[in-house]
Symmetry: C2
Subunit: 161 residues, 2 copies
């Protein structure tokens, strides 16, 4: 199964970074492609949330479950309903304290392209096209999402609310 | 200045990973392109070592200083003498405990291509060629080096000496 790990150093304490990661409804403010996130149910240990996201100019929607381990600073996410070309999408946000005022932020993905039906994925793409699109999206979104959290965390440190 | 961060999850405790990272003369055993490493001087806090490495089929040699922060599990390295196309090469190995028996291993690079002399870098390459070669080498070596440490650490856990 395809698997990817990406990382970035954030010049903010782990508590600043962690608060951003847990506030899933705030993702619409941080991640430019994310238009809306609403928690359907949850508590301090998990969230089930509906995401509305612009994917290559089209609005996609999916539901994710996020299991929150505040002790280890890990959020394990997986899409319960997936976007049209996605068969499986999951992974982890991990935050590691790096001294008192820096954080090593890691984002992992494990994923599968959706199975083709009558030779087409999502009615439109060959399996190879869909695979390439999904790999490219994971690569692009990993870099964008990590940098979005980094920018917002560093902005909060520079300009405390 | 170009900057890159890469990461991998290692299924071994941080002490196993850290011992591998500190044992710089052992790199010739772990990293296939590394033919020989000799410590010129050092103690528990730093090492100055000469590396002999196969780079694209040619033997390159350089001297690196490594500052060892055992408390934070960080080794900051920089080449004192650089390979022919390299103007500056430095970065950090960082290891973070991820539970008791896993480690998040991070490798960062900040680097510059060597300045051209009479339009050529190392007497042979245009600045654009040298830049592209160095970026590709950093990308390729990051993935290879992280996976080499991961493989060796996981082998040690599976088959204790």
């Amino acid at each position: 199964m395809p698997y990817a790990e990406h990382t970035v150093t954030v010049d903010a304490s782990i508590s600043v970074v962690w608060d951003l990661l847990v506030d899933v409804e705030g993702y619409a403010r941080i991640f430019p492609p994310t238009q809306d996130v609403k928690i359907i149910e949850g508590d301090s240990t998990y969230q089930i949330a509906r995401f509305v996201v612009d994917v290559n100019g089209e609005t996609a929607t999916w539901v994710s479950r996020r299991d929150i381990d505040a002790g280890r600073h890990v959020i394990a996410y997986r899409q319960l309903e997936t976007a049209p070309i996605v068969g499986r999408m999951g992974g982890e946000w991990r935050a590691f304290p790096f001294g008192a005022d820096r954080t090593q932020l890691v984002l992992t993905h494990d994923f599968e392209t959706r199975e083709a039906v009558d030779g087409k994925v999502a009615g439109r793409f060959s399996p190879e096209e869909a695979d390439a699109m999904l790999h490219a999206a994971v690569e692009r979104n990993s870099v964008a999402d990590l940098n979005a959290v980094k920018s917002e965390a560093e902005r909060l440190v520079a300009e405390p609310a």
